[in-house]
């Protein structure tokens, strides 16, 4: 089970509205390399992991990704909060406004809705952990692209934190993968 904690994992300090960055940032909620996909990927894969370390790690990182979903959602919410319909339309979000208003909806930067096709879960722990390593790198790259598109110190600060987490997760997944290889070599597993 999960319980909710009424706090953000990392503080978000958005000073002014920024429709352009909100449109880009949303991909880290519901895009192909976003936090929602990451959470669903790890929390689905954990059941068929063969080692104690991998089961725990996928549970814990999957849970942390849900906290990242909340950070991204909070940023987008605050960036759009005081905008008018006209401003949204001028910034190219007229159709977005018609369908969702200023709501948070899991989609990428082009408005494509989130899909489970962004993730895989194969019951092969070596395959799944390799996917996880790649997913962390893809998310890191996306955060770097986002960082290149803004000078806002509040947005940059949170994005730097999230980028750093991708690197730590990559490191831990690598260790879990080595452990799975060891198990495979120590007994004829398949």
């Amino acid at each position: 089970m999960w319980i909710y904690e009424k706090k953000l994992q990392y503080p978000v300090n958005i000073k002014c509205k920024d429709i352009r960055m909100a449109k880009y940032l949303i991909t880290q909620f519901g895009g192909p390399d976003g936090e929602l996909g990451a959470a669903m990927r790890y929390l689905s894969q954990r059941y068929t992991m063969p080692t104690e370390k991998a089961k725990a790690l996928l549970t814990d990182i999957g849970t942390e990704e849900l906290a990242h979903v909340e950070i991204i959602s909070t940023m987008v919410y605050q960036l759009l909060k005081d905008t008018t319909a006209e401003e949204l339309e001028e910034a190219g979000l007229g159709s977005q406004y018609v369908q969702h208003g200023r709501a948070i909806y899991p989609q990428d930067a082009n408005g494509i809705p989130w899909t489970a096709a962004y993730m895989q879960s194969t019951a092969d722990p070596i395959t799944d952990l390799h996917e996880d390593l790649a997913a962390e790198q893809k998310a890191r790259t996306t955060y770097e692209h986002l960082l290149n598109l803004t000078d806002d110190p509040g947005i940059k600060d949170a994005l730097r934190f999230l980028r750093e987490r991708e690197i730590v997760h990559y490191q831990r997944f690598g260790e879990a993968l080595m452990d799975v290889y060891e198990l495979k070599n120590s007994k004829k597993y398949y």
Binding site: I3, Y4, E5, K6, K7, L8, Q9, Y10, P11, I14, K53, A56, L57, D60, I61, E64, E70, S73, T74, Y77, Q78, V168, H169, R172, E175, A176, D179
Partner: protein
């Protein structure tokens, strides 16, 4: 700790909880690292103290039986994490 602002106290909780989270992930793949484990347990204790102070002042941080509430039921009170404090 008692006289910190809400924002500063939350920031302190976020710092200690982040340390605990990162140690937790490290321990998942290094369960026999005694030093990391002792540091993790220190964080647990510090976090407990900080959250107790925060919850007395501002209401429950956790739902479903993990935090007590004063009257009336304070879980529903604004602000939620996506809303700016102040």
């Amino acid at each position: 700790m008692q006289e910190m602002t809400r924002k500063d106290l939350m920031r302190k909780i976020q710092e200690v909880e982040f340390k605990a989270l990162d140690l937790n992930l490290y321990l998942d793949t290094h369960p026999k690292n005694m030093e990391a484990l002792m540091e993790y347990n220190r964080c647990v204790y510090e976090l407990e103290q900080l959250k107790k102070i925060y919850e007395m002042k501002y209401g429950p941080l956790l739902n479903f039986g993990f935090s007590p509430s004063q009257y009336p039921w304070r879980w529903i009170n604004d602000p939620w994490p996506w809303e700016q404090i102040e």
